[in-house]
Subunit: 320 residues, 2 copies
Amino acid sequence: MPDLPRRIKIFEEGPREGFQFEKGPIPTEAKIRLIDALSDTGLRHIQIASFVDPRRVPGMADAEAVARGIRVRPGVEYSALWMNERGLRQALDIPHLRVDGKVRLYPSGSFLRSNLQRTPEENRAKNVALIQTCLAIGVPVTEASISSAFGCNFEGDIPLPSVLAMVEEALQLFTEHGCTLHHLILADTMAWATPLSVQRMIGAIRTRHPDLPLRLHLHDTRGMGLANAFAGLAMGIDLFDASIAGLGGCPFAKHRAAAGNVCTEDLVSMCHEMGIDTGTNLEALVTASEIAQQVVGHPLPGRVAQAGSLSAIREKRRAA
Amino acid sequence: MPDLPRRIKIFEEGPREGFQFEKGPIPTEAKIRLIDALSDTGLRHIQIASFVDPRRVPGMADAEAVARGIRVRPGVEYSALWMNERGLRQALDIPHLRVDGKVRLYPSGSFLRSNLQRTPEENRAKNVALIQTCLAIGVPVTEASISSAFGCNFEGDIPLPSVLAMVEEALQLFTEHGCTLHHLILADTMAWATPLSVQRMIGAIRTRHPDLPLRLHLHDTRGMGLANAFAGLAMGIDLFDASIAGLGGCPFAKHRAAAGNVCTEDLVSMCHEMGIDTGTNLEALVTASEIAQQVVGHPLPGRVAQAGSLSAIREKRRAA
């Protein structure tokens, strides 16, 4: 039997991923309504916006208004995504946002070249500059993410040694600057992972760095999100990114769209049914998922919100 | 690392599950078109219809016309579902149908009582009568299925010992009548299974009967279909029911509907990406999945048909 963790931490990315991806304009108040609902689910980490160029990501033009407008619930950490010093300063301007520095590594040379117009050396220099900026301002640098760690639509399959090299680069950057790596995020950005490759990668990293806390960021484009999450759980992983209702992609669109992160309430349902504590209330998540669908105005891929939870069925039987 | 099988056999149930479930009438020729497309995918086992009371299942009123109308591809086994001698005789009337006797066990007493109006003893008597009828006609009895083996909306959680008792009942019935049990089907009819309960149940049965071939029938109502399939694969299971495009449920309907079986092309995609042979052509399955959507006239839950397969992305990169 697998060695499952007793409890996991979920990092909710639905608002940020969803508002970034959705085509239609979403009123600021609707975004705030969803985030406020998420604050009441027991989730402790919610990423609420991106401070990025609104010309490139129009859905984030109101990021500041959203961040300032939410009801701040004590005990919940709110965060935002940012990619440069301008975004970092915008985030720091919001008193209730938790701001951490994150180093970003790309094992796919093709992605670095064609999407970010950088060489590996230039990316390393960018990371060094980011760490220095953060430390100068007093922002802790605590996270590193490896994008498209399992495969990339531009590069194809990513060999495991390339990912292991990125792990070493991350650790070296942190050591050189006296920072502590709290989470190494393995991101299946373009949904190339399988349960087997998830387990192989975790195994390979663990062999070298047994105590490094690994966090999984799994997209569900080919329906393998929960299978990959289970593969991670079975290796003892207890840190997961997830997205309410599966926000962040639109598999119902006519085009062959990428899907969002693994759906929060579906992941929670699977965990609770296996006796794994998530610290969240599944029925409250189902409510938030319904709000997410209202906010975007179309069905979202999450399944438990449609089918109802097993705990709700048990409850009804007890009451009958 | 998990001990995955090298190859699996898939039992396609999409036509039978789908035509039975869909609300709107589907023309006989459209059904035949889908089955003919499935015949060209490499699938070796396709369940094409139910010979049941058309007043209860109107979508199966044309079962005979469908069964007679398909293009029979050598090497493919076509089968049908039937529940009584009348249905059995209808199936036997179609020369190209493979007809096997199947014993049905129900660990949920509530389901037996409220849906089939039977006691456990009456169900056992029904199974004995079915075996005797089959043997008298010369139909081999080869399969046993345990319905709602993981949980039941009527009964709630099903304790593992109740399932183990059904396994013993099945084996006893087969031994008593000199039949060989080819497949014991563990059916998660109402989608209560988790990867953990799948592995626990397989482990418990294997401890008692190490050589009994187990086959999984997994519904995807809460999005755990592939996770449960992976859990089975990791225990060496190599027999799976599946449903093209995820036919058999309509999660997009307003009501809280049950979903179909795990989606064939999504299961195949996961297997191929882990190096497991399925004997099928994924691109041909994607084509069949698109036909399934045309035939039912609305989106179906399968993801790979929407997102495109990873092998297609690799192919495009090679060609570029």
